[in-house]
């Protein structure tokens, strides 16, 4: 191979190397910006539509800025949009989702943290088998387990109650969180654990005095993972929460399905934005942590 080809092929093509402004560089940015527009468009439509009257949207104006921006539809979606016969808007769903999330997130995280700790430092006969079965559960489609869980919860009188839905979220959050915490504890130096053992500390003492304080960063990842996951859940809320505790996503779907005659997209989009606000805020505030959560959730297999 001649030196000339080696040189030219070193200049032209892209690849993970810095270079000056070339047509190739412009093409890269053009592609990325086009992609960014595609991803942002639905969010823009959501926000714009929620601030416009239906007359303004008519005639293909979904991308136009609102002539008279209004928050009336936000207020309507929040407090007076109808689901069937009741017209209380999304507010009850919001508070139900808050209740479910506030209860289920700490429970699932504390249980999984203990699991991960025990699986890393206190292996006993059968512990790995349990872990294998648990991770297998992460792959199973929820619909397969819906009826057995309905049956089980009804037997103990918790079907359609707040404790019921909290239990369901804790159960289905456990596989991925246990994996997360197990991988984290396994990465800690074993000397740390041994030193505490030599000092005579037992299972719980080591957990509370050594491990818990050290696992704050990974716990934050777990909180982000669980808050967004539980807030965005639809099927569990639909099946297990019961009429009194329907979460916001189910309420949102009910509001949208209830509209009679022409679909009132302004209210629907306002309701959509309100429902998506919590996970979006969590996402934009947490940034890199969120990505870490995804990466951590993806490392199975």
């Amino acid at each position: 191979m001649s030196v000339a080809t080696a040189n030219s092929s070193g200049v032209e093509p892209s690849g993970p190397k810095p270079r000056r402004v070339t047509p190739g560089r412009i093409g890269i940015y053009a592609f990325l910006i086009m992609a960014a527009i595609f991803f942002l468009l639905p969010l823009a439509v959501m926000i714009l539509t929620s601030m416009k009257s239906m007359n303004e949207i008519r005639g293909g104006n979904i991308f136009a800025l609102p002539a008279q921006p209004t928050l009336d539809y936000w207020i309507k979606a929040w407090s007076s949009a109808c689901t069937g016969v009741t017209c209380n808007g999304l507010a009850p769903g919001f508070f139900n989702s808050v209740k479910i999330t506030v209860l289920a997130v700490p429970i699932s995280i504390i249980l999984s943290m203990i699991n991960g700790y025990a699986l890393s430092f206190w292996r006993f006969r059968g512990s790995e088998l349990m872990f294998g079965l648990l991770v297998f559960g992460a792959f199973v489609p929820f619909q397969v387990l819906v009826y057995p869980i309905i049956f089980g919860l009804s037997r103990v009188g918790l079907f359609g109650t707040l404790p019921g839905i909290v239990i369901v979220h804790s159960v289905f959050g456990m596989p991925i969180l246990t994996l997360l915490f197990r991988n984290f504890f396994a990465s800690l130096p074993a000397e740390l654990f041994k030193a505490a053992r030599v000092d005579g500390a037992g299972f719980w003492r080591i957990f509370f005095s050594v491990m818990l304080p050290m696992s704050v960063p990974i716990a934050i990842v777990a909180v982000i993972l669980q808050v967004t996951g539980i807030w965005n859940d639809f099927i569990f809320g639909l099946v297990f929460a019961g009429r009194e505790n329907l979460p916001m996503t189910v309420q949102l779907n009910n509001i949208v399905r209830t509209s009679t005659g022409t679909v009132e997209y302004s209210t629907n989009m306002a309701a959509t934005i309100l429902t998506g606000a919590v996970p979006l805020i969590v996402y934009f505030v947490s940034g890199k942590w969120f990505v870490r959560g995804i990466a951590a959730g993806a490392v199975k297999g």
């Binding site: 093509p13 639905p42 439509v45 397969v144 299972f203 965005n232």
Partner: protein, 315 residues
């Protein structure tokens, strides 16, 4: 005297040993107690739950567990002669291939472009990933508006002067699944990109230098060298996509409700509707079928692990 002390010592040694054993067991006891919730979930929910589902699929249970008759494979016969189920299975294949192909190809392209030492990488990553923070219900509702012929993209393009422009995938049973593929891929491409980008970054820089010195075109380097080297990341992304496709439920409810007709019904909606319409035996047969792709994935994983262990032994 001496013999007695010797036997005494032997005795106490044995006692010490058993005491040490007991102490070790005792020290493990809190760990076992601490993981009782995990055992209940792993066995009580996952193992027994799945077993329960499979057993019920051989019965004629309507809703309550009374007057149970075992009917053999009858529920499966009914299942495969029900048009809605057969269509649902076709839909999930079509939707699954479309969604997974779009996510993998789109995610890979985005990852490659993100990997060119671009400026504002964090901003682009934030934009590509934010849809994933939104639930499938929200994704479905927004795209329903975008694809609504009266209000959405079709109306917009027509308002620009192209009055014959037709773009209404959700209104037609033949194209409704395509609309759903676009919506769900909008939601999921970012994650695939994030995983594949991590894979790309894991490829040694030296590989690029070597390929450049050999004069191999960049696209060729990606296809023949880099992609095979990041097969771990590709496999991870693929497994996640498959698991999510099998579960597809929320977006159907939010976007089309299964329609027009039954053109976007999925196995998951069939299971839930069967339970709701008090036909649990039928729903459980469908649920058991839904386990098959997951069982396949796990078998494939075991196969690769087994092959890796064989290799490890020979070298």
């Amino acid at each position: 005297m001496t013999t007695i002390t010797a036997s005494e010592r032997a005795l106490s040694e044995g006692q010490l040993k058993s005491r040490a054993n007991r102490r070790r067991l005792l020290s493990k006891l809190p760990a076992i107690i601490g993981t009782i919730p995990m055992m209940i979930v792993a066995i009580g929910v996952f193992v027994i739950g799945i077993g329960f589902t499979i057993v019920l699929s051989f019965t004629n249970v309507k809703f309550f567990l009374i007057n149970i008759d075992f009917v053999g494979l009858k529920q499966y016969d009914i299942l495969w002669s029900t048009a809605r189920w057969v269509e649902s299975v076709k839909h999930i294949w079509f939707y699954g291939f479309g969604h997974i192909a779009l996510c993998l190809v789109g995610g890979f392209l985005l990852a490659v472009f993100m990997d060119q030492r671009i400026k504002a990488e964090d901003a682009f990553r934030t934009i590509f990933l934010y849809p994933f923070a939104l639930s499938a219900v929200i994704t479905g509702l927004v795209w329903q508006l975008m694809l609504d012929p009266i209000w959405g993209l079709q109306a917009y393009v027509r308002s620009l002067g192209f009055s014959d422009f037709t773009f209404a995938p959700l209104a037609d049973g033949n194209t409704a699944l395509l609309g759903m593929i676009v919506a769900s891929s909008w939601n999921g491409v970012g994650v695939t990109m994030a995983i594949l980008l991590a894979g790309l970054r894991g490829v040694d820089e030296e590989i690029w230098k070597a390929a450049r010195i050999d004069g191999i075109p960049t696209w060729r380097t990606y296809i023949s060298i880099v992609i095979p080297m990041m097969r771990g990341a590709v496999a991870t992304a693929l497994v996640l996509l498959v698991v999510n496709v099998v579960r597809t439920f929320d977006i159907v409810i939010a976007m089309t409700g299964g329609g027009p007709g039954i053109s976007t019904q999925m196995p998951a909606t069939y299971v839930i509707d069967s339970i709701n319409s008090r036909n649990v035996g039928q729903g459980m047969a469908a649920a058991t079928i839904m386990l098959l792709p997951i069982a396949m994935l796990i078998l494939i994983q075991f196969f690769f692990r087994w092959r890796a262990s064989l290799k490890g032994r020979t070298t």
